[in-house]
């Protein structure tokens, strides 16, 4: 990481494989203005447990965005609904410890392109910016 990008917000995007365009070939990461998005494919948003996203944040990511299929479009019928509840639960925990619920979010979409996923990450970064970098980042302490 270059010195100039030292304070770029590190956003991890966990996206359901069903909600991206068929031809989507994910890069491991994309840099934007003030943020770096790292894309991780998951088989279904329902695979995301509260512990996973909390661990990602505890390891230093500034934010996590879970991208799920739209309502009634989940291949597992209710996977996105379950994910939404877990994300809500984890957001409450983050608020309780004063890390900021904004560090975690969820978006629903289908046929998403790399640009759209990057836009989602940028939106998350915008909400996190007022909070500053994750206190777990050793380099920012």
């Amino acid at each position: 990481m270059s010195r100039d990008s030292k304070f770029d917000l590190d956003i991890v995007v966990l996206y359901c494989r069903q909600c991206v365009a068929d031809e989507f070939a994910p890069p491991s990461s994309v840099s934007g203005a003030g943020f770096v998005a790292r894309f991780v494919m998951i088989p279904c948003s329902s695979k995301v447990e509260a512990s996973y996203v909390l661990k990602i944040l505890a390891e230093g990511a500034d934010g996590v965005e879970v991208v799920a299929c739209p309502d009634k479009k989940c291949q597992f019928l209710v996977g996105n609904i379950r994910a939404e509840k877990r994300i809500g639960y984890a957001r409450n925990l983050l608020e309780e410890i004063k890390m900021g619920a904004e560090r975690l979010g969820m978006t629903k979409g289908e046929g998403l392109s790399e640009t759209q996923l990057t836009d989602i990450a940028e939106k998350r970064a915008g909400q996190i910016k007022p909070l500053g970098p994750n206190p777990m980042k050793g380099e920012n302490r």
Binding site: E49, S51, L54, K55, A58, L93, E96, I97, M99, P135
Partner: protein, 223 residues
């Protein structure tokens, strides 16, 4: 199963302040079933506490372990190898598990991460309701398998109070069934309503908490 709930995170953080290495211990039995203290909850709480401590500039190292049963000495013994590496233990097992660790390793502070609340059943996903109060003198045989000690807000033993709602719910909580409504309904369905009119001996409370700490002895099992 024994039911427990996480204590508020700030309360846990308050106890951990001043410690540098903490062992977070779960239990894979009752508290795992009620989603408070199993492996999954250990994995959720560990990063959460690390972040909570970091936010207030008290970085902490958290080791984790989930025992099969924290209330059995054989399993508690599994901590012997690692307990010397930490300066405190946070247990998210029931109060029995917390005390077992504290008794086996008296040299180290052991803090509870949960409040143990009741003996309950998983009524539906994400909903646990009390079923037993461990009162020491079970009367389920006379109340059609429904416990008024644990499930009546007033602990009434001889029938409903006047506060049962028209839909059969308790006046204390609109989401809780009036257990006496359920008892009478079940008695009616069995055609045995008259059994509830039978005069019973006063319940013996001496084997409950009122009789002091309990001990159960089976000499045939003792060494």
């Amino acid at each position: 199963m024994i039911i427990a709930e996480w204590k508020p995170i700030p309360e846990m953080v308050d106890k951990l302040r001043g410690h540098k290495k903490v062992l977070l211990v779960g239990c894979a039995t009752c508290v795992a079933e009620c989603a408070a203290g199993g492996q999954r909850e250990v994995e959720t709480l560990a990063p959460l506490l690390r972040m909570a401590m970091q936010v207030e500039d008290n970085p902490i190292e958290i080791h984790t372990k989930t025992l099969e049963r924290q209330c059995e000495w054989e399993f508690v013994e599994e901590l012997a190898d690692t307990i010397g590496e930490v300066d405190a233990v946070l247990s998210i097992a029931c109060g029995i598990g917390v005390q077992a660790i504290a008794e086996r390793f008296p040299e180290i502070p052991v803090y509870p991460g949960v409040n143990t609340t009741s003996l309950a059943i998983r009524e539906a996903p994400g909903l646990w309701t009390a079923r037993c109060a461990a009162c020491g003198d079970c009367i389920l045989g006379e109340t059609f398998g429904l416990c008024p000690v644990a499930r009546c807000a007033k602990g009434l033993l001889n029938g409903p109070c006047g506060g049962t709602r028209k839909d059969g719910k308790c006046e204390v909580d609109e989401n809780t069934d009036c257990v006496w409504y359920l008892i009478i309904k079940r008695a009616e369905e069995r055609g045995e309503l008259e059994k509830l009119a039978k005069i019973r001996k006063a319940k013996d409370w001496s084997n409950s908490d009122h009789g002091g700490p309990k001990r159960m002895i089976r000499e045939d099992l003792q060494p």
